[in-house]
């Protein structure tokens, strides 16, 4: 049984982590394509339209992989987490079904028009198609976040038959205070990813001295969108989400911060390694009293450490949770610094020739993917040992009839298939970037 639990968790973690590499770019790039097309339409500037066409090609590839890797996510609630689905399906079935009905139809219908119909639709309607695809992906994200937020902070439910839960308030479910900040935080993160990808491609064209007109558009758009979204990610969304954790999952906050002992005037740890045997943080480097201030706006406020909670309530993998959180925050801070520097160069009209800046941006694009992944690991590891926080523990949610052997079989299958998909995706994206924006045709096949 232990083996099966671990394998169910590994399979879901792997498929979810891999899947989310794609939607974050889809959602962010959807917004950037809408902006490019808007500017192209307003200024009647064909260069912006062509830039949008180029990103639409990458968007299409990315969207396709996002869709095919997304289907297993919905299936796995039933296949691998049957007891959880029986328990909570009456509540979160609402939001998952709404995602299908409201978001998937919108996205898939307009994606066809957006990718194949530019000539047929003309500029304005094609802009509407792009806008609809963007809206669809953001609505989809909303329902997924509401679902996750309910698992983090269950609201609007009542006890149902056979120990399950049933929906009591639809308004409370959709208006979950946890969901709103988590959504805005997550969407800012998606825009950061897309901005860095766009800026990275722009830097490449400028450094390689080819397609430089496009390179300048990409760099400009990426840097400005990147700065705005990086700042929003930290404040107010990251700050508010941190407070959600502090007030609703205080033991998670203690684990994230590596705070083993309850303390008045708790420090904010920058670097250090949790030592679970001695229950302390090794080699800590910290800002005194900062955690108390950030959480309660009082320098001397008491923050409860792990010692204030029984060990049965502690997250199951505290070091990994601690590192995920610190990687997310550390990278987020670096994103603000890099994009702020870039925008400063832009204003001084030196960005297009500042080779060190261009090199940094060229190589920086993987890091938002890492930061977004680390952020989700923080949320999900922080929710442990609960599947539904405070209501259902993770081991109680698996499919009891699916054996460890069968789960390992499918986990290996996913590893193999996703490896192939990843190789193909990289190959085709690199080809598209190599072909360059000028050659991205009018959105038809072949």
């Amino acid at each position: 049984m232990e083996d099966a639990l671990l394998l169910h968790r590994l399979q879901f973690a792997f498929t979810a982590t891999y899947h989310y590499l794609f939607p974050q770019l889809t959602m962010g790039l959807g917004l950037i394509i809408v902006i490019l097309k808007w500017v192209g339409l307003r200024r009647r500037d064909e260069l912006y339209n062509q830039a949008a066409r180029f990103w639409a090609k990458i968007f299409a590839l990315n969207f396709a992989v996002g869709v095919v890797t997304g289907i297993p996510m919905e299936f796995q609630f039933g296949t691998n987490w049957a007891r959880f689905s029986t328990y909570a399906g009456g509540v979160i079935g609402q939001t998952l079904a709404m995602e299908g009905v409201f978001a998937f139809f919108l996205e898939s219908s307009f994606l066809g028009l957006f990718l194949f119909g530019e000539r047929k639709l003309g500029g304005r309607l094609h802009f509407v198609a792009a806008l609809m695809v963007f809206l669809g992906s953001w609505i989809s994200g909303f329902f997924i976040i509401v679902t996750n937020a309910w698992m983090q902070h269950p609201v609007g439910y009542a006890p149902g038959p056979n120990g399950s839960v049933t929906l009591e308030s639809f308004g409370a479910l959709l208006g979950n205070p946890w969901a709103i900040w988590q959504y805005l935080h997550n969407m800012s993160g998606a825009v950061v990813t897309a901005s860095f990808c766009v800026a990275s491609a722009g830097s490449y064209y400028l450094l390689a001295r080819r397609d430089e007109a496009y390179g300048r558009i990409f760099l400009r758009t990426g840097l400005v969108a990147g700065l705005v979204s990086s700042v929003l990610m930290a404040f107010p969304t990251g700050d508010a989400q941190g407070k959600n954790v502090a007030f609703n999952q205080p033991v998670t906050l203690a684990a994230m911060e590596g705070l083993f002992q309850t303390k008045e005037g708790a420090p904010l740890v920058l670097v250090g390694q949790p030592d679970m045997d001695r229950k302390r943080l090794d080699n800590p480097l910290h800002v005194p009293r900062m955690l108390s201030f950030l959480t309660y706006y009082r320098w001397g406020a008491e923050v409860r450490g792990l010692d204030a909670f029984p060990e049965t309530l502690w997250p199951t993998n505290i070091p990994l949770l601690y590192y995920s959180y610190h990687i997310m925050v550390g990278l987020g801070t670096i994103f603000i610094a890099v994009t702020a520097a870039g925008v400063w160069f832009l204003r001084r009209r030196r960005a297009y020739t500042a080779r060190p800046l261009l090199w940094i941006l060229l190589l920086a694009f993987p890091f938002p993917f890492i930061a977004n992944t680390a952020g989700w690991m923080t949320a999900e590891l922080g929710r442990q040992p609960w599947l539904v926080y405070g209501l259902l523990r993770t081991p109680a949610g698996t499919s009891a009839t699916v054996s460890a052997g069968n789960t390992l079989f499918t986990l290996l299958g996913f590893l193999g298939l996703y490896f192939v998909i990843g190789v193909l995706f990289l190959l085709l994206v690199l080809r598209t970037i190599g072909d360059g924006p000028a050659r991205a045709a009018h959105g038809e096949r072949d």
């Binding site: 139809f105 066809g112 009839t401 085709l428 072949d446």
Partner: protein, 346 residues
């Protein structure tokens, strides 16, 4: 209320089979009816803007099932663990087949993805039928409402048979022939020239297989699950569904002869809808029969979610589905007509 949701999910699944069925069927016939690169691009161009949206009906039906009948969703998805995972992998490979081929202009690259697309579509068509076969035959549901089925055991129909036995394989063949003919009708409707001619020939060859396998399956069902006729004798108006299905089959033969592809496509759609509706009508109120003991069968009442949630759901589902049908109409109208001999998109 649960009856209403039972109808909603049956409707969504039937629409899924009709819509994704035509692009699956096009995949089954792909290699046979389209030989040159141009011809293959015509087949892919005919389904290009639609196949992804068609697949969404499966996702939306799955999501709605999860929402309306959580226990049924959990029990069937975990019980059918292995075949469902394989369906997922096939859906991925098949989607890749469609999306990858046009990126590289090399005959080997394209041949590989055409093969992937055709093989994935064929296996999926068989799996869909086998899945329906499992639901009709029943699965070893215990008193806790859960079960697990291996892929196969002895291929005989007994309480501990696997996903595949002779009956579910027969149902797989029903599905394969039906979707092949259905896809052929669609391709014939959307293309001209050589591809259209071969697609019509495909329909002509596959339709007798539909008739033979369907009659076989009908006889087999009466043996395996005689109770399926009880609802029909209690409410004879239900015979409208099998009659509609039979009329659809007749229409397929007739209109194919006359070369009326749209009417033939409508007929194969009616056949699919009629057969699925008959099955749903015959099973109700059981949604997943137990092969161990009738008392363990999952029913609409024993698996439904709370009434408050189901009531709210009717509101947003109705709104959402009207909008979705609007998108689909707009999409199909936008890409109406035949794909050209050298399709530059549309």
């Amino acid at each position: 209320m649960p009856l209403l949701w039972f109808c909603v999910i049956a409707f969504m699944l039937a629409l899924y089979v009709i819509l994704d069925g035509f692009d699956l069927g096009a995949g089954v016939l792909h290699i046979a009816i389209a030989r040159t690169d141009d011809e293959r691009r015509q087949v892919l161009g005919a389904i290009g803007p639609f196949w992804d949206g068609n697949e969404v009906w499966l996702l939306a039906a799955g999501g709605t099932l999860y929402f309306a009948f959580p226990l049924l969703y959990a029990s069937s998805f975990s019980g059918f663990y292995l075949p469902l995972m394989m369906v997922l992998w096939l859906l991925m490979l098949r989607g890749l087949g469609i999306e990858m081929r046009h990126h590289v202009n090399h005959p080997m690259w394209r041949a590989f993805w055409d093969g992937t697309f055709a093989l994935g579509s064929t296996l999926l068509a068989i799996f869909l039928g086998a899945a329906l076969g499992n639901v009709v035959r029943g699965v070893p549901l215990g008193p806790d409402g859960y079960f697990f089925e291996p892929l196969w055991t002895s291929f005989t129909v007994e309480p501990d048979s696997g996903i595949l036995d002779w009956f579910t394989v027969l149902m797989g063949l029903v599905s394969l022939s039906t979707l092949a003919a259905h896809g052929g009708n669609y391709v014939a409707m959307k293309t001209a020239g050589e591809v259209q001619r071969r697609a019509r020939l495909g329909v002509r060859l596959w339709t007798p297989c539909v008739a033979v396998t369907s009659v076989g399956a009908l006889i087999a069902v009466s043996g395996i699950r005689p109770g399926i006729w009880a609802n029909f004798s209690a409410d004879p108006w239900g015979f409208i569904f099998p009659v509609a299905g039979a009329a659809g089959l007749g229409g397929m033969i007739l209109f194919n002869r006359l070369g009326k592809d749209a009417a033939s496509f409508a007929s194969s759609s009616a056949f699919i809808a009629g057969m699925l509706a008959s099955t749903a009508f015959g099973l109700y109120p059981v949604v997943l029969p137990s092969s161990i003991d009738e008392r363990y069968s999952l029913t609409v009442a024993s698996t439904a979610a709370g009434s408050y949630g189901l009531g709210i759901g009717i509101v947003w589902w109705s709104i959402g589905i009207v909008i979705a049908l609007g998108y689909f109409t707009y999409l199909f109208v936008s890409f109406r007509g035949k794909v050209g001999a050298r399709p530059e998109g549309y």
